[in-house]
Subunit: 289 residues, 4 copies
């Protein structure tokens, strides 16, 4: 396996001795434990762990590691996944007309601050093609036929599968995706919603924020699920606003929040910091990695 | 009128020359303008002003000032109010079981940081009487008869009117007040709700915040209106939380937000910084007053 | 003058009647006052006003307006400036190796969210030329000769003057400019410093923040003055950090703060929201403009 | 030991297998590990752990536990401490004239939100005796003789030792304590400083913040060390301010920050969340405890 970082994400029923058993397992196999983060949900009696390992000292192959781990995992009823540092994730960004999140993600990518390969930008409009070209990322135009929306989704799935996409980012993509599409990519679609959910679910959140006279506006990044704007929340942030703000200025103030919130959520996902449990996302803080 | 601070709050249809006309009026009557804050809502074409005056240089009586001002106000269709610094507002605080907001307000009052007289604390329970006694503020116990809720409201109104209460603070008062009661005190009842409205309106916001897995929790101070949790928002704030938070720890974190938000809203009201327009509260920032 | 926005920035000794006199002046000349913001510093007894006017209703030319205004301004000892909406400001951005602020500013510019013309990017290194080219902004490479630093400054001044630059943005420009250079452009150079000044003035603020073990890091945008990092502060912001942060992760977290802080400061300047008084910057909030 | 919470704080040179060894130790002795938080400082190659245990399942006495643990700790060069949940910490609060932090701490104490016994309030002035009496906490007046400051410190030490005080809170205590005094209570004195350190060390931070024209003010809670305002930082927070703020209003805004920051730091200490390493405080986040 050479010297690479291996990350395990584990959830299971809580019970005595879990941390000792898991960490001893990896220690005995020759791994160096870089960080080991846990969370116990004592209401639901469940246990969560994110453990990052340096594989330098082990002689196991990936396959052997996984086979061995299964022997630990099965009796303890682990739901688990393993992620290897030598596998770069393939990302697709979906957009419509709004460009600020796209610019922000591409700039971070270009600067080496997104640990992935942005394989493609896909849009139902041609408008943002020039942004893709500026950053030299392939752009695919997949227009939506109002009378047959599923046609475009089929094309979308073909394109995503052909390129073995690991993560789909809805960076202000203004089409509602079907439940079938969503369920094809569980916990692999991150959406940015321009309000502090659950406030202002649905359309036009800034206009409604203006009308309600709120004193702060926000943004929420979450995994997409069948129920629109109801998926597990990964990141949220807000900014104070005043009565002076119009729907137009709210949109501008909000754009900066959306950028930060989406970028943080994407980074959390790419670094394997997230475990989803029911409708809640456990997001372990970044360690000094 | 002697040397005192006089504050006018004005709203009217927007039109040319308003600020010149209003400020010239006060200048000619001998007032010194300490601050003059405006807001134009260009969507609804309305104009708002808060103007603070030092009355030292005028020879007008209060009555003369108001009669004179009416001549300016009527043709320009002002909706206005005037507030004199020598009149201290009389405040009643309503509570049930929860004490943190009560402690916080009484500490600020005791320290001279609430510009009012706290005339009384009223509760439907005896539990917080000792807090009132610590701070030497009269405590009234008005229990609610489940079969005749209006009876207690009638007693409440009698008590409030007898003491000429100017502002009613619902500091975690857990009874729903009738529309009749609310409408008796328009823009004179401030409520603290323990969520960032419009998220989690109604009961148990911290439990629902936990279940929804939000990454920030908040509090909202607003004027009470007939529609529960729907009144004009004065102040809001939030704090980040993580998956580690339980409903119990959310309650604790939230208590600190509630204290700050309610205290700021009450101060804004007592300093006459607020003009309500429809369901929105224009809250002018404090000037160096 | 046609229908354009005219902004006056005024400071003078405080005295009775100022707002009435100034607003009456503009009202009588046919201007519509869009917003009128004031600040009284009662410690130094000075008065500040930012007033925005719509010139649609006036028949005055720019020249006549200024001549007339002088009659008001002189006896009241105004220090003032006037800014016309039809004059777009010419901006130069100076950079060295670090690109995040440059990307951020150029993205906002491209999106139409910076009210100016970015005439050029100037650098003492070639490294960021590709970024300038992506956004199709002219790039000038002006290397510094260690033995004759003033030579480059002379070239810089020639370049800036030739293009009539109104605002110089030091977007992580890592050369110390001479007092002579700075004084050539008073209140026209905005610098971003990567700490919450006055903490960590000078070099390597993130390393020193790590070493001091602070629990928040920040950024400060300020006008450049002779004394390094001592000029009037326009904008500041911070983010919480934990012991997990290394100097490297602090740098990453800080980059997002720097971007927001510099962009806000530049916008405040371009919208003529700032009046400098001594070493303090009065920054009027954006109105619904 | 019965069913109680036991917390170990450990620091040592980093090496392979630490988490496995430590957690296995406790698992084998019959403890249930409630939470286990780690931090690796890869710059200094040091390892830190906070581990919380439920002692229900163990048959060891405290003494046996510590003797056994020593066998693990010595070869691995642990610097460690153990804290038992059945031992309530004894706290002394030192104040001078300013009361907001005192009120805040006492309210939290009274409400059951400070896990300690506040044994006494000590002051060099009589002014805050009534606050102590309101909350029924013993008050000691220890005036300072300008010509012999050490005399009062000697009395102070006698009083603190007599009552076996575990934690000394300097809640705006305006006397400089001698190095001897400070070194008598290493990591047992928490001070609140009214600025975001290292900005505005020393006297009058709000006045200096005004003069410097900063756009945010803050507060810092830290362990007191010989060097004034240089000790390990536990908590910091800030609030945005504007040019409108005077030194007086900064003081008021700052008071709310000081209250929150000191209360959080004290709670972190009382919950054994802090390990000091050099001049940095590792503060583990509260788990759902």
């Amino acid at each position: 396996m050479k010297s690479q970082i291996v990350t395990f994400l584990i959830q299971c029923p809580d019970q005595k001795g879990l941390v000792a058993k898991i960490t001893s397992f990896f220690f005995e196999k020759g791994f160096n434990i870089l960080s080991c983060q846990q969370y116990v949900n004592s209401i639901e009696n469940t246990y969560f762990m994110r453990i990052r390992l340096n594989a330098e000292g082990t002689i196991l192959s990936k396959k052997e590691l996984e086979t061995n781990f299964l022997e630990l995992a099965t009796p303890l009823k682990f739901k688990w996944s393993v992620h290897y540092g030598d596998k770069k994730q393939q990302v697709a960004i979906l957009v419509s007309h709004t460009s600020h999140n796209l610019y922000d993600l591409l700039e971070r990518y270009k600067e080496g601050n997104l640990n992935c390969t942005v394989k493609m930008i896909i849009s139902n409009h041609e408008k943002l093609r020039p942004v893709a070209e500026m950053f030299q990322v392939p752009f695919y135009y997949l227009p939506v036929d109002k009378n047959d929306k599923l046609l475009q989704e089929t094309q979308l799935i073909q394109l995503l599968n052909k390129h073995q996409i690991d993560l789909i980012i809805l960076a202000r993509y203004m089409q509602i995706l079907s439940a079938d599409f969503i369920n094809t990519y569980p916990e692999k679609i991150i959406n940015i919603h321009h309000s502090f959910l659950p406030a202002f679910q649905g359309a036009n959140p800034y206009l409604r924020a203006y009308e309600r006279g709120v004193k702060l506006i926000g943004a929420t990044a979450h995994y997409a699920t069948e129920d629109l704007d109801e998926g597990p929340i990964i990141e949220q942030d807000v900014k104070p606003v005043t009565h002076e703000s119009t729907p137009t200025t709210l949109k501008k103030i909000g754009a900066d929040i959306e950028k930060l919130v989406l970028a943080r959520a994407v980074n959390n996902h790419l670094n394997h910091q997230i475990i989803v449990s029911g409708n809640r996302a456990i997001v372990f803080p970044e360690t000094g990695e």
